[in-house]
């Protein structure tokens, strides 16, 4: 009986070879190559940060982070981000509004100029401020005469950070607001809402996730910036060392636990940024 009533062979979904499918061995090879590459280059570094930071145990980790120089570095990093992120956020909103809601000559040039800091090497971003405010710089003599310190002091760090994080918010908002168009805002305005009310009640709710993402990226870069800040800071322990610079100083002094304890905070910040990014993408249903 069994031999006669052969059930019609059911094709499982995977057994059907689509024209766009690659052979199984190709798929497996490519997936393994990708995964090993990612494991090696992305996961291994994170694992190493954790293992090195805790190499001498919890107490050593805690001590490394609570010693005065580390604390000062953390405070300075937070301060720099606290000043630069709001300023660049206001700029991002203003520039996105001007660029996406109005037509004017030189618009594409303006958009290119806003992106400019991205294509400048971080070291050069620091050098330009030394050339402006350093002892031999443009305003050097004037600053010395008035006893104002910019380079090798906090203002220089803030300025360099401001420069490198300049485009982040604007570049998230401009494409989104371009895509959205201005019909909703025009409707609100024609119904008698003021410009400010329209922005708060109509525009802001539409762009809030992209805005949040831009702020997040801006903050991550502000706290993690190394090259530009390293040029202007002078690496004075407890005074002008930001957290990334503290990591560098500690590493160069072979203080591995201190270096990687600092690095673990910065890596944690990166992870939080990535997780929030995935969350915001899911929330928005599109790639940011």
């Amino acid at each position: 009986m069994n031999a006669i009533v052969q059930p019609v062979k059911q094709f499982k979904k995977e057994q059907i070879q689509h024209a766009t499918d690659d052979p199984r061995w190709v798929r497996y090879t490519l997936i393994s190559v990708s995964l090993s590459f990612i494991l090696l280059f992305l996961f291994l570094p994170l694992g190493l940060v954790i293992s090195k930071a805790f190499a001498s145990g919890w107490q050593a980790y805690w001590d490394a982070l609570s010693e005065p120089d580390a604390q000062a570095a953390i405070r300075l990093t937070v301060l720099a981000a606290f000043i630069t992120v709001p300023l660049n956020t206001v700029f991002g909103l203003a520039s996105a509004w001007a660029i996406t809601r109005f037509e004017f000559p030189g618009k594409s040039l303006l958009t290119t100029l806003i992106d400019l800091p991205f294509s400048v090497s971080p070291v050069i971003s620091g050098v330009i401020f030394v050339l402006l405010f350093g002892a031999q710089g443009w305003f050097g003599e004037w600053l010395i005469a008035h006893d104002i310190k910019v380079i090798f002091a906090v203002p220089g760090i803030v300025l360099a950070t401001l420069f490198v994080t300049f485009p982040f918010v604007a570049r998230e908002l401009i494409p989104l607001m371009q895509e959205m168009g201005s019909e909703e805002e025009e409707a609100a305005l024609s119904l008698g809402a003021s410009g400010w009310t329209t922005f708060i009640k109509v525009s802001l709710p539409n762009i809030k996730w992209a805005l949040l993402y831009g702020v997040l990226l801006c903050n991550a870069r502000a706290m993690g910036e190394f090259g530009a800040v390293s040029v202007v800071s002078g690496h004075i322990r407890g005074l002008t060392n930001t957290l990334p610079l503290h990591v560098e100083t500690s590493y160069n002094e072979y203080n591995s636990v201190a270096a990687f304890a600092g690095a673990s905070i910065l890596a944690g910040l990166a992870i939080v940024t990535l997780v929030l990014k995935s969350f915001l993408e899911w929330k928005q249903g599109r790639r940011l």
Binding site: F102, P122, I124, F166, A270
Partner: protein, 269 residues
């Protein structure tokens, strides 16, 4: 629409204050130099060697990252596998991780006593850290997301009807890849390559820890600029920085052209 004057005014004012005026200092400062002095600085053997190291390493790293980045983008778009979401999120790690952290991690992994460094020395006799090869490795890490994130959307948009048509007409999978997929995806790979290269040339933080920073051998241009600045050789620092800046602008132009080509190819323009 209200607010044109205020928003554009603030935009221009802030842009000038934070970006344009500081950047133009570099150009004004270099006017102090005569052309022959500029050429003398730039053609100094140590400076030329640094340019060779920076450009060479960035070129090799961007090429390797383009190869693997393309495979990763392909796998992420075409094949289902578990943990894909996590992998996809982690591709951006080099964007989010501060460069100093990437730098000390790479140096620790690849130094002769490090986890992979030891393996490579014992197994292949290759030392990565404190050699130009170390710079390449650090730059591959930095470059990967540029390629993946440029190729991925183009691959997603790619109309597979063309593949089906080709294969129904009897093309093998390899022919389909070579004649249909590659020509359509290539502009995006090249754009990713250019973005990675531009970033790699100016990269500092992730490189200096693993590079060894030996003049003439493994000294990168950004480090040389800092060295000149620390020795109060402002003119040399200015001349080298200006050259780097001009190269970056040139690359930006190339990237914009590539971008146009890419969008034309995928029918978005």
């Amino acid at each position: 629409m209200p607010g044109f004057g205020q928003t554009l005014g603030f935009t221009l004012f802030y842009l000038a204050l934070v970006v344009l005026i500081p950047l133009s200092t570099l150009i004004f400062m270099s006017f102090k130099l005569s052309l022959s002095a500029y050429i003398d600085i730039i053609t100094n053997t140590r400076v030329l060697a640094a340019f060779r190291v920076s450009f060479g390493a960035a070129l090799v790293a961007a090429a390797i990252a383009s190869f693997f980045g393309f495979i990763i983008a392909w796998v992420l778009v075409r094949y289902p596998f578990s943990g894909k979401k996590l992998v996809d999120a982690f591709i951006d790690l080099p964007f989010a991780l501060p460069t100093a952290v990437a730098g000390i991690v790479m140096a620790t992994i690849f130094q002769p006593s490090g986890f992979l460094g030891k393996l490579l020395i014992d197994g292949l006799g290759v030392q990565v850290a404190y050699r130009p090869l170390g710079i390449v490795v650090a730059l591959i890490f930095i470059s990967i997301p540029f390629v993946v994130r440029t190729v991925e959307p183009v691959l997603k948009e790619f109309d597979s009807a063309m593949e089906e048509a080709a294969s129904s007409l009897g093309a093998t999978r390899l022919q389909v890849f070579n004649k249909i997929i590659l020509p359509n995806i290539f502009p995006s790979v090249l754009t990713g390559f250019a973005l990675a290269f531009a970033r790699g040339v100016g990269e500092y933080g992730s490189v200096i820890f693993i590079a060894g920073n030996q003049p003439y051998v493994s000294e990168i241009v950004p480090l040389l600029i800092i060295t000149k600045l620390e020795q109060y050789e402002y003119e040399a620092a200015t001349a080298i920085a200006l050259t780097m800046l001009l190269v970056s602008f040139l690359l930006l132009l190339v990237i914009n052209l590539l971008n146009r080509w890419m969008r034309q190819r995928s029918g978005q323009l």
